[in-house]
């Protein structure tokens, strides 16, 4: 079989990008594979193409519901009808309907928590599966808002079935992740296909400021004098709403995007952004990982992420069309404390764990006990997961070491910010890569020549021309 011909025929691309063909060949040979390819380089193709060439369905485990839905929509848009998403946001009846017809679908996206349900697993066992994909596989070793004990439970699911090959995909794999992935996914002597994670067309810049007022001023000036489309990452939903309001008030076309918005508004904002009707989005990390919009020119971090992995994921939204793009991170001294505070509140303390455990022993319902012990939702999920496996003392030890780990990650992120050496090299060394490439527009610590393409003449005004209502209907429908 000629793979390039298949690529051309089914996707219309003339050649594979680095690494793709190798990954696909391994998968077709039935081998467990770990593919580490940079953001935006086409990891999805690595399971889509083999999916067509194999008998049976492809099961794709995907960490975020929004991401899952986006990918289903993209595939449908490209003409693939046999694709479906199965997650806990579906209503009970919708889910039942999907589950009963599972064998109609070639590509089934599923959230990790669905796979920890017995009934769902039973259905999957009856299904002929060609391939199991774990997308954004680095989530396995992550702790934080998106930590999913369910991800860890995946191993249980993968252990019990007489299974097809597993393909793990990620763009952010440091040593620990590379150890965790095969371990937790129970992979059988996996092949690792690894490409340089460098994104050459993204230029990195760190700007130190003294106060949040200065940050605000910088952003206002930046978005009204430079080109979009762009994403501004903030530390919370509330903050992204505030920032969007501020920017709207100076005439910038901008909307906030986060999981707290109603579904219709979220699709509208995405669609405006795709269509170039909207220049800027102020977002939480809900608008990150895996989201594919070709022409994003700028990513601005109003606030530092807590890990280098998160940072490079978010930065990875930029320049997916291959054209020059800029990532700017704004930093002021007190950011470190705030970030560290956010991280630590998520991790349950020793007293909390003991108290929670005692309440459970007294026969209290878990939800209520968690509330009394002051556990966050994430915190409860994690403790519940551990309690199935370990004694309380061990759990406390594990949580301590998690807190430490988290802190180390934060320090690594910080060193990236304060370094006077090349930022790009720093990021790459985090992923265990060495690079001596000289890139003309590299980072704010190397030389940063004037980037003319970045500047725009006049501030972008709201692009919605005001039409009367019947003009609008005529425009839409003729």
């Amino acid at each position: 079989m000629n793979l390039t011909e298949e690529l051309q025929r089914r996707f219309g691309y003339t050649e594979f990008r680095p690494g793709q063909q190798e990954v696909i060949e391994h998968v077709l040979e039935g081998r467990d594979t770990i593919a580490v390819l940079p953001t935006g380089m086409g990891k999805s193709l690595c399971y889509q193409l083999p999916g067509y060439l194999m008998n049976g369905s492809v099961l794709i485990v995907s960490p975020l519901v929004s991401l899952m839905e986006d990918q289903v929509a993209q595939m449908r848009k490209n003409g693939e009808k046999r694709v479906v998403a199965l997650n806990s946001f579906l209503s009970y009846s919708e889910r039942e309907k999907v589950i009963r017809q599972l064998d109609h679908f070639k590509f089934i996206f599923v959230s990790p928590e669905m796979l920890s349900r017995r009934t769902v697993v039973d259905y999957f066992r009856k299904l002929q599966l060609a391939l199991i994909v774990v997308d954004e596989a680095h989530c396995i070793s992550q702790w934080g808002f998106d930590f999913r004990p369910d991800y860890l439970r995946l191993g249980d699911f993968l252990k019990i079935i007489d299974r097809p090959p597993i393909l793990a995909l990620t763009a952010t794999a440091d040593q620990k992740v590379m150890f965790d992935i095969p371990y937790y996914l129970q992979m059988r002597s996996p092949v690792v296909e690894r490409q340089s994670l460098d994104r050459k067309n993204i230029c990195y810049s760190v700007i130190r400021l003294k106060s949040s007022i200065e940050k605000m001023a910088w952003i206002k000036n930046r978005v009204s004098t430079t080109t979009g489309p762009g994403i501004i990452y903030t530390s919370s939903r509330k903050r992204s709403d505030e920032l969007a309001k501020e920017l709207q008030s100076i005439g910038v076309s901008c909307q906030s995007y986060h999981a707290g918005k109603e579904q219709d508004d979220r699709s509208i904002i995405q669609s405006q952004f795709y269509n170039g009707e909207l220049d800027w989005i102020c977002a939480t990390n809900a608008f990150g990982m895996g989201i594919h919009i070709g022409n994003i020119r700028q990513v601005i971090h109003e606030h530092m992420p807590s890990t280098v992995a998160d940072y490079s994921q978010e930065v990875g939204r930029a320049g997916r069309d291959g054209l020059p793009s800029v990532a700017t991170l704004l930093y002021m001294q007190s950011d470190e404390q705030l970030t560290s505070f956010i991280i630590q509140t998520d991790i349950p303390k020793e007293e909390q764990v003991r108290y929670y455990n005692n309440l459970l022993i007294d026969g209290m319902a878990p939800e209520e006990a968690a509330k009394l012990a002051g556990l966050s939702e994430t915190g409860k999920r994690v403790i519940d997961y551990y309690m199935e496996r370990f004694e309380v003392v061990e759990i406390i030890e594990k949580l301590l070491s998690l807190a430490e780990e988290k802190n180390t990650e934060l320090q690594t992120m910080l060193s990236l910010i304060v370094t006077t050496n090349c930022i790009r090299k720093n990021i790459l060394s985090y992923f265990g890569e060495e690079s001596n490439l000289k890139i003309p527009q590299c980072c704010s610590n190397c030389s940063l020549p004037e980037m003319e393409w970045l500047t725009v003449e006049k501030p972008s005004m709201n692009k919605h021309a005001i039409m009367t209502w019947d003009e609008r209907i005529t425009k839409l429908l003729g």
Partner: protein, 345 residues
């Protein structure tokens, strides 16, 4: 129109007889015996369930605004209007909600319409792949069935839908601002809909006001579509939107047993429910069904006497009526009041 103005209007109807929470339940469309009765007693059907997702916070904010303006006061937890409040209500324009008939389903109608419009808007220009603005599978399947064997790629067909829509928007009597909001939420090939924020900014109004005007405009449009035969496509899109039966599912089951001749006590036993719940169901039936056999419970004379007393007391509070008619049970009094509101007596 905004949330506090509507709240003020509702309070004016329940004046001094209910707590503030009764209004919250009403706006959210809570299907409890108490709320369902209130709807009838106080003639506030139009507002039932117009904001199913209303949060406590938003609601309390609107109530607080009324308190600060001294339009309402609270006594023994019961809310009533002040003189200023009453004169404020008189200044309000008429509302055209039909909450009782649509109960949040109007939004489903709009989602179908939005996806249908986006689909033909793209197809008429030969664009066959686009990201659907509605990700809900049920909505997608509905639109797919709707367009089955229709000339969806023809510009004529798109224009037909557009013309029908224009006619209905004018015909239903919504305001120009409402037409602007309504069409602003539609997406086409080149124009994406606007978010609520964007509409609020363009019209320089608050979010709650925009949302409410939108809901009201949907109710007006749906009424127009159902009352005239001139909107074939919109009629199809609004299929199944209006509630078919006004009874809750549980009341329907009770009704069936009641019609088979079971006593209330035996229905309660069969259904493993409290007697008071079964009584609530009968009140629901009495309110909604003209054929309800009220005379199996009370006599004509009793009904007349109770209604006369209620009118002379100027109250619908059962406690006061109970004092006047110690021989009647609360349930019987409620039945009489329910039937009375329907205008049967």
């Amino acid at each position: 129109m905004n949330l506090s103005s509507i709240l003020l209007f509702i309070i004016s109807k329940m004046n001094g007889e209910r707590t503030i929470n009764a209004s919250l339940h009403l706006l959210r469309g809570k299907k409890s015996g108490q709320t369902l009765q209130d709807v009838e007693y106080f003639a506030v059907k139009p507002f039932f369930g117009i904001l199913p997702k209303l949060t406590d916070k938003e609601f309390q904010k609107a109530a607080e605004k009324l308190r600060i303006s001294a339009f309402i006061v609270e006594e023994d937890n019961l809310i009533r209007l002040t003189a200023e409040g009453a004169s404020e209500v008189n200044k309000q324009e008429d509302y055209h909600f039909r909450g009782w008939d649509y109960r949040g389903r109007e939004v489903v109608f709009f989602k179908r319409l939005a996806l249908a419009v986006q689909t033909v808007s793209n197809l008429r220009e030969g664009t066959h792949s686009f990201l659907p603005i509605e990700s809900d599978r049920d909505i997608q399947l509905f639109v797919k069935r709707l367009f089955y064997r229709k000339p969806i790629t023809s510009p004529h067909f798109a224009k037909e839908i557009g013309d029908e829509l224009k006619k209905a928007l004018i015909g239903c009597g919504m305001s120009d601002k409402q037409k602007f909001i309504f069409t602003g939420r539609l997406t086409g090939k080149r124009d994406t809909a606007k978010t609520w924020d964007q509409l609020a900014r363009e019209l320089e109004e608050q979010l709650d006001s925009i949302r409410l005007q939108f809901i009201e405009s949907l109710h007006m449009l749906l009424d127009e579509i159902h009352s005239l035969d001139e909107y074939p496509i919109l009629r199809l899109i609004s299929d199944d939107i209006k509630v078919q039966t006004y009874l809750t599912d549980s009341a329907i089951r009770t009704k069936k047993l009641f019609e088979e001749g079971h006593s209330l006590g035996s229905i309660a036993e069969i259904r493993q429910l409290k007697l008071s719940t079964i009584e609530d169901h009968l009140i629901e039936m009495a309110m909604n069904e003209s054929s309800f056999p009220i005379l199996r419970f009370v006599s004509i004379e009793q009904m007349k006497a109770v209604i006369a007393k209620a009118n002379s007391l100027g109250t619908k509070r059962l406690k006061l009526l109970k004092v006047a008619f110690p021989s009647l049970t609360y349930f019987e009094l409620r039945l009489i009041m329910a039937v009375n509101e329907k205008g049967v007596v």
